[in-house]
């Protein structure tokens, strides 16, 4: 039934949202590291 799909979908959506936030964290960190590298051209 549709409930089954809803449950499975919900599970993965929740996981994806979390993984998404982790990815955004990575991206932000990348940018920071680049900034730091630029500011110190040594």
């Amino acid at each position: 039934m549709t409930y089954l799909y809803a449950a499975y979908a919900a599970t993965w959506i929740i996981h994806l949202v979390y993984l998404g936030s982790v990815l955004i964290g990575y991206r932000r960190l990348q940018r920071e590291i680049q900034d730091m590298a630029r500011k110190k051209p040594r």
Binding site: M1, Y3, L4, A6, A7, Y8, A10, T11, I14, H15, Y18, L19, V22, G25, Y26, L29, E32, I33, M36, K40
Partner: protein
């Protein structure tokens, strides 16, 4: 990393499919709901151990493990709390019931969300310590939570959500495979979150050091 992911994903799709059920297909939610719960409990246990270790040894690694296991634990706990009602509705006709297991899971969720908020809102270097202490409180509370709700329930019986009497061995098989898959998944998620945190802290340290050295290099 991708290898583990692929093999687990294959297991998942294959196995969640086959075994039919008397309750109808809806029963299959069980294969996601239960392993998620077990994984969440396991992660919270890891959080407890890591927190205690931190209190004894002040290891930065332990603190990160505590943070990561709490976060991912809450994610899995959320899954349990969402799939639970979705399963209950078609089967028992109600979205929620204050039965022991569901309520305990809710309280568990509340406790660890509070833990995460403490981490976010507390300023300064003492966060890990304070968080670890809270984690200990929370973990010790869990059996008490279970008993108190159990007592409450025996006084105020509500629709019984049994796990179903006997478990068809094929179902148990599917369940375990799904659990194994979820464990691999959880491990991957934890690992990547751990790395993120590790890098983030290193960056912060470097920034702090640079801020200290700054004045000298300018002049």
């Amino acid at each position: 990393m991708t290898l583990a992911l692929l093999s687990y994903a294959l297991y998942e799709a294959l196995v969640a499919a086959p075994t039919e059920q008397t309750m109808g297909d809806v029963q299959r939610i069980f294969y996601y709901h239960v392993p998620s719960a077990w994984t969440a409990f396991l992660l919270f246990l890891i959080n407890f151990v890591a927190s205690v270790y931190y209190l004894i040894r002040r290891s930065d690694r332990a603190d990160i493990i505590a943070l990561v296991s709490a976060e991912v634990g809450v994610v899995f706990c959320t899954v349990v709390l969402v799939t639970g009602p979705i399963w209950a509705r078609p089967v028992w006709g109600i979205w929620w019931t204050w039965d022991v297991r569901l309520t305990t899971t809710l309280v568990l969720w509340l406790i660890y969300v509070a833990y995460l908020m403490l981490r976010r809102f507390s300023s300064g270097s003492q966060t890990p310590l304070v968080a670890a202490v809270l984690a200990v409180f929370g973990a010790l509370d869990v059996p008490l939570v279970y008993f108190s709700i159990w007592y409450f329930r025996t006084q105020h019986p509500s629709p019984v959500i049994g796990k179903g009497g006997s478990l068809d061995p094929r179902m148990a098989h599917v369940l375990l495979i799904n659990w194994a898959a979820f464990l691999c998944f959880a491990f991957l998620v934890c690992w990547s979150r751990y790395r993120l945190e590790r890098v983030r802290r290193d960056v912060e340290e470097t920034q702090a050091l640079e801020a200290l050295l700054e004045p000298r290099s300018v002049s």
